[in-house]
């Protein structure tokens, strides 16, 4: 059986339902700013299949969203290795809760909601899946990592600096900032991810920006509109 869908860029993503199938390099989504429409019919069909228990569809979701979830987790905790484990936990949790996804057309937003909750309850989530995580093969000297170790450490240091800078924001505003500004979810998607009205997303983001401008001023930086 072969399933086919279109990536956002229009390139076909083809997957066959075999456990042994090697992972193909597929076009992955990139954040492109709030308001960007992401929910299309193909995604809704895919998420409907996931909700019905279709593991092949879930594999496609993983291939499509793993990068985004990996980076989202990193941007919430500032550690690449931990983000890798949390990415697995997010997808395991998404599979466990798949029947609760009532709006398949917003499956991606729902997945980011799962990720937000996993990070918020990180210890509990990691404990739930401790056996599953323990069974993941670990590599001690992956060439890709070794070649890139310096930039990874730089990114971790930079991210920890960012997290420290926004630490003065309330949790709910950090969540909106991470989803909307850092991961490029639209206001509507962020609202679905967090289970709050769109107006609440707007007001939280607005408050977060205002607070950060105040912090900027107190720290001697110029006011930015980039957040």
């Amino acid at each position: 059986m072969t399933s086919r869908r279109q990536s956002p860029g229009g390139e076909p993503i083809v997957s066959e339902s075999s456990d042994e199938r090697p992972l193909q390099r597929v076009p992955l989504r990139h954040a492109d700013g709030p308001g960007a429409g992401r929910s299309d019919k193909n995604d809704a069909r895919l998420w409907s299949r996931v909700r019905a228990g279709d593991a092949d569809a879930f594999a496609l979701v993983f291939e499509s969203e793993a990068r985004a979830i990996y980076n989202f987790c990193f941007r919430r905790i500032g550690e690449w290795a931990a983000a890798e484990d949390l990415m697995s936990v997010v997808f395991l949790e998404a599979w466990r809760l798949r029947t609760k996804n009532r709006a398949p057309e917003f499956g991606r937003a729902w997945l980011f909601g799962i990720a937000t909750n996993v990070i918020r309850n990180r210890r509990r989530a990691e404990w739930r899946y401790r056996k599953a995580l323990a069974s993941i093969p670990r590599e001690h000297a992956a060439p890709d990592f070794a070649d890139d170790v310096e930039s990874r450490l730089d990114a971790e240091a930079a991210m920890k600096g960012v997290l420290a800078a926004v630490a003065e924001l309330p949790q709910r505003e950090r969540d909106v900032l991470a989803l909307c500004a850092w991961s490029g979810l639209s206001y509507e998607e962020t609202a679905i991810a967090l289970g709050v009205p769109i107006g609440t997303v707007r007001s939280r983001l607005s408050r977060a920006r205002a607070r950060l401008r105040e912090l900027d001023a107190s720290r001697g930086h110029s006011t930015r509109e980039s957040i």
Binding site: D19, F58, I136
Partner: protein, 258 residues
């Protein structure tokens, strides 16, 4: 030039081999829920009769002891809410007419069910070796009762009738009971049909078969449908809520067929 303290560093890719390892690990975990099926034994038909569901119209035939292999229980997506075909609509209308003929002398304490034929819709569809197997339903009144129909989508019956189990709730659903029946039809001897309702907060069911295998299926609008190998019969059905907590277990099918 100062670095913006609120902008995260650029996104990165997980190295390809690690991404593949994560994917394979995830799929192993996902597929490890016991959804594989196998056919081992000849069928031994069981019928359990109980209150709760009244079978209205069915063309279920005699059991045929023909082992068959390779039955697939794959959920077809986007079936929920599908409008009925004329044949399906005709079945519900005919069933209502049959019920109305009985209303002169209804059993005590039982409200005879009349389906709202303007609200017939698809519930779930599964792929089988005999083609798509569809479950249709329509509400009865406003108290949560339903009428339902199982239909092999590819059937082309000369008499323009639907060959499959069907029934209606005769009491309003309450609690978290499971009512189910496991049917084999003369028209489709290679597929055994498990159909039923899982009440309460049930979101999924686990079905344990007589050959030792098990499978899971979603619960949609309190209903579930499974097409499984005729060489095995259902031993136990357990419902689960959205959190994965077991709700109810039933080892005796109580939906009548014949």
């Amino acid at each position: 030039m100062p670095t913006d303290p609120y902008l995260p560093p650029a996104e990165r890719d997980l190295p390809f081999d690690r991404l593949q390892a994560r994917r394979e690990h995830l799929l192993r975990a996902v597929r490890g829920e016991g959804q594989r099926q196998a056919a081992l034994k000849l069928p031994t038909r069981e019928r359990k009769y109980a209150l709760g569901i009244l079978l209205l119209a069915t063309a279920v035939g005699a059991v045929i002891a023909t082992p068959a292999f390779g039955i697939v229980h794959a959920i077809r997506d986007l079936f929920e809410g599908t409008p009925p075909t004329p044949l399906v609509q005709k079945h519900f209308i005919n069933s209502n007419e049959g019920v109305q003929k009985l209303t002169a002398d209804p059993p005590p304490g039982i409200k005879l069910p009349l389906a709202d034929t303007t609200k017939i819709h698809g519930i779930v569809s599964v792929n089988t070796s005999d083609g798509p197997l569809n479950l249709w339903a329509a509400p009865v009144g406003n108290d949560g009762r339903q009428c339902w129909l199982v239909q092999f989508a590819n059937d082309q019956n000369a008499d323009n009738t639907v060959y499959g189990p069907s029934g209606c709730d005769i009491r309003a659903p309450s609690g978290s009971a499971i009512n189910w029946g496991d049917f084999l039809t003369t028209a489709h001897p290679s597929v055994r049909v498990l159909v039923g309702e899982a009440l309460g907060a049930a979101e999924s069911i686990k079905v344990e078969l007589s050959d030792g295998s098990s499978l899971t299926a979603p619960v949609t609008e309190h209903l579930f449908l499974v097409g499984h190998d005729p060489g095995a019969v259902v031993r136990k059905v357990t419902s689960f809520d959205a959190e994965g907590a077991a709700l109810t277990t039933s080892s005796h099918g109580n939906v009548v067929g014949g």
